[in-house]
Symmetry: none
Subunit: 227 residues, 2 copies
């Protein structure tokens, strides 16, 4: 049986080495002949051009996609990067992403980077365009500014901070309040004591008296007098 392993994914392994053509034809045949297993990791090379036509060995296209490693993957990366940098340029983005991708290979390094060198930049453009359409970023002459998923982060953060601030304020006020309540209670005790003293007749009649009045009024008329 053939290979058909399935794997992949992640792997990303496809090498694209551009070299021998024999491989090419082989790949073609494989695909057709075996019919079954498709995916071959790839091959080919280039020739690019378009064309080619004649006779024999037509090349193919290469590929074997890096499953799951397309626009979606790059968009996410682009987004993270943009968000963390806030303001950057296309070149910086592309470089960063490329270097990141280049890190995880073993021997396909060269071929991989050759591949990425051309593919990533193109994908980054796609991602940027969508992001721009959503107003998540703004492009002004080469400079890319992250507006952020509209206010989300900023406002959320801002409001959280505000919340904390308010909580603290409430805490302080509450403590002060408690303090005052205690003092208030103490004074009420004082009043009570005075009253008791008075009542108990413990007071000296000719003593002193303090015709004293304290009136606190909030909203209405008050008549008060004494003689």
């Amino acid at each position: 049986m053939d290979d058909n392993y399935s794997g992949d994914s992640l792997g990303g392994f496809f090498q694209k080495h551009s070299s021998a053509e024999s491989s090419v034809s082989a790949s073609l045949n494989n695909a057709a002949a075996f019919g079954s297993a498709r995916r071959s990791i790839t091959f080919d090379h280039d020739d690019t051009g378009t064309a080619s036509v004649e006779t024999n060995a037509p090349k193919k296209k290469r590929v074997s996609r890096m499953t799951g490693g397309g626009l979606r993957q790059f968009s996410a990366k682009v987004c993270d990067l943009l968000e963390s940098k806030g303001r950057t340029t296309y070149a910086e983005l592309a470089d960063y992403i490329m270097s990141e991708l280049a890190g995880n290979d073993s021997e396909t390094a060269t071929s991989l980077s050759e591949f990425n060198d051309k593919n990533i930049p193109r994908r980054v453009y796609d991602a940027l365009n969508v992001l721009e359409a959503l107003d998540i970023i703004t492009r002004v002459k080469k400079e890319i500014k992250w507006n952020g998923i509209p206010d989300r982060k900023m406002d959320l953060e801002g409001m959280k901070a505000e919340c904390v601030r308010m909580m603290n304020r409430i805490g302080r006020k509450t403590a002060y309040l408690k303090d005052l309540e205690e003092q208030f209670a103490d004074l009420q005790n004082l009043m009570f004591c005075n009253k008791e003293l008075l009542k108990s007749g413990n007071t000296h009649p000719g003593g002193f008296s303090l015709p004293f009045i304290l009136v606190q009024v909030y909203y209405f008329v008050i008549f008060c007098w004494f003689a």
Copy 2:
């Protein structure tokens, strides 16, 4: 006029025969041979180089691009649509966008739609992929759900409400506090007075009494007196 639009390739429509090795070349030829003119909103072309192969007049690929009418444009549309529908499917999206685009033409209608029939769907996929990477949408088996710029709306509203609530609470506490402070001040005054009286010797050594009255009124008339 020569607008040539016309045909298109349709290319896709040769089914994929993947069989023989000739397949490759065959497809190429088809494209070339039938290929002939493909729309051009603007003009055309020429035959540039690449390709083509034998025989007759093969045109190529071309297609003068519809500047500015690419991923960016479609992304915006896709986004609006998704947001308004909340939950839909790829097919619905594509159809909707296509019909919308088809509306604004004059005579190129046919060619345009033929063109769009193939191009738009592809673009919609691009847009969806980016959106998905940003978690703005979620795809579950053909169904596309709009998550909407992550919680933004919900959280923002929620936190604003929370803020208002807290502000009110602070207001109430503050008023109460002020109230207590005043009462406190009053009582301290009372204490002070008492102390002064005491000190002034006006007091009777055997104890003091303070026929005293403290009245606090909130809302209504009060008559108070003593003699």
